[in-house]
């Protein structure tokens, strides 16, 4: 089996880098709507994030607000917008 690309990233919107304001970790993020978020972490970002250690099932709130901010700044586009 080869690893394939998600068409939604190539046909629609790719993932874009976003930096967390609290820990400075760099992730790739994508939002297909205001409510939808995908996050691809890097080793570095995982090591830097203080929230991850607390709850691995939760999305870091600081990172989530950085992603929302990136949308409001126009750095990250929402697919449906």
């Amino acid at each position: 089996m080869t690893v394939r690309q998600d068409d939604r990233l190539t046909d629609g919107m790719p993932m874009r880098p976003v930096r967390c304001r609290r820990c400075d970790g760099l992730v790739l993020a994508r939002k297909s709507s205001w409510e939808q978020t995908s996050i691809q972490w890097t080793e570095e970002a995982m090591a830097a994030c203080p929230s991850l250690a607390d709850d691995r099932h939760a999305t870091c709130p600081a990172l989530l607000s950085a992603i929302r901010e990136a949308v409001l700044n126009g750095e990250l586009k929402i697919v449906d917008a």
């Binding site: 394939r4 409510e35 939808q36």
Partner: protein, 381 residues
């Protein structure tokens, strides 16, 4: 994408299924089943295995075919700590070495067969499969399930079913929110996936469908459920599944596990334990566990009915309200890759939360239409 490209007929692609089986811990089921001092045949990983418990109490898993003349050890006899071949009585130890040939002065060189590392935990037997033949790394583990050894919980209720398709189909369920509505008659309202290292998690909240809901015998109506389900490795999922009723919660732990028989079939297992509570005193807990187990079995049957006629597809065409199928398969690929070749993309943390606004709208409408139609036909809602 150009207009011509977007107008082209979408072609379903499917590569040959790998003749390789996932690296990882696989659960063979409750250890008790293998502990009767008799050899047991298990068809797994494209081979025939023998599972037996020696007099020393160890549970062992060996290649079933005797290296002498090919006898089937799973038809043999346990003698002391060893399995004796039914053909010429060669004795094989749990470490895979021939310990004794009763009619010979000595055991020849090279008298060693394949032995699988085993793990006995929470009353379940696990085998470690690794096509490269390495032992399990210390950090690749199956978590303990606290309730199993506690009197506050019921005992395992376990089921097994042989499914005639490749086991990737069952893995895909991890990210497939919509099928829970269409196939399993549930109503997801929240859906999130997290892949990290050798784990893949699905967090799902759901409400009871008004067009399906029926109060149970005690008159309790289930309002919904919260499920946190994690695959630990390629084949063993632990689901902390809480059912919400008016005024109380019902806690259960559900195991959804499998082992490949060959590349075209797998053995699909479910296990459930239920926490005893004010509402579930004494035998009521066992009754509920049986009911839930039946419910899960029906869920499997619903999946199996789809798998029976669907086709394998490497390039699913996804909408934005579908889950991360490609990223899940990228995670799953790590188990089919030599350990040294596993890439950071396969194991890196990935989070994906679906926006359920649109699905919830559509499903609300659909359930309301079902209710209205039934009312018009004069059936009870």
């Amino acid at each position: 994408m150009t207009a011509a490209e977007s107008d082209a007929i979408r072609v379903i692609e499917a590569e040959a299924i790998p003749a390789r089986f996932a690296r990882g811990w696989h659960c063979l089921g409750p250890a008790e089943k293998f502990s009767d001092g008799r050899p047991h045949t298990v068809n797994a990983f494209g081979q025939k295995l023998v599972v037996f418990r020696g007099a020393n109490g160890n549970l062992n898993v060996l290649d079933a075919y005797c290296r002498h003349m090919g006898g089937d050890l799973s038809q043999g006899t346990v003698k002391g700590d060893e399995i004796a071949c039914p053909f010429h009585d060669w004795r094989w130890g749990g470490d895979g070495r021939c310990k004794k040939i009763p009619y010979s002065r000595r055991v020849p060189l090279r008298a060693r067969t394949a032995a699988w590392p085993t793990l006995l935990q929470d009353e379940l037997l696990f085998v470690w499969n690794d096509p490269e033949g390495n032992p399990p790394p210390a950090d690749v583990t199956i978590p303990r399930i606290e309730g199993v050894t506690s009197d506050e919980w019921t005992d395992w209720l376990w089921t097994e079913t042989v499914v005639h398709t490749n086991c990737r189909e069952v893995i895909d369920n991890v990210v497939d929110m919509a099928h829970f509505f269409y196939i399993h008659h549930s109503f997801p309202t929240y859906f999130k996936n997290i892949f990290e290292g050798h784990t893949a998690t699905q967090i799902m909240k759901g409400k009871t469908r008004p067009d399906i809901a029926r109060p149970d015998a005690e008159g309790n109506t289930m309002l919904g459920n919260t499920s946190v389900a994690t695959y630990h490795g390629p084949a063993f999922m632990v689901d902390e599944l809480t059912y919400h009723y008016q005024g109380f919660d019902l806690e259960s732990v559900l195991i959804n596990s499998h082992y490949p028989i060959d590349e075209h079939s797998f053995s699909l297992h479910s296990g459930i334990i239920v926490r005893r509570s004010e509402q579930l005193k004494g035998p009521a807990a066992e009754v509920t566990a049986r009911k839930l187990s039946g419910f899960i079995q029906r869920g499997f049957e619903q999946d199996i009915a789809v798998w029976r006629t669907k086709t394998r597809i490497d390039n699913p065409l996804l909408c934005e309200e579908d889950g991360p199928v490609y990223q899940l398969r990228r995670w799953y690929e790590q188990f089919y890759t030599d350990a040294a070749e596993v890439t950071p993309e396969m194991t890196g943390r990935f989070e994906y939360e679906i926006d359920t606004t649109r699905p919830v709208e559509a499903w609300t409408r659909e359930t309301e239409e079902n209710l209205a139609r039934r009312a018009a036909e004069g059936q009870p809602a």
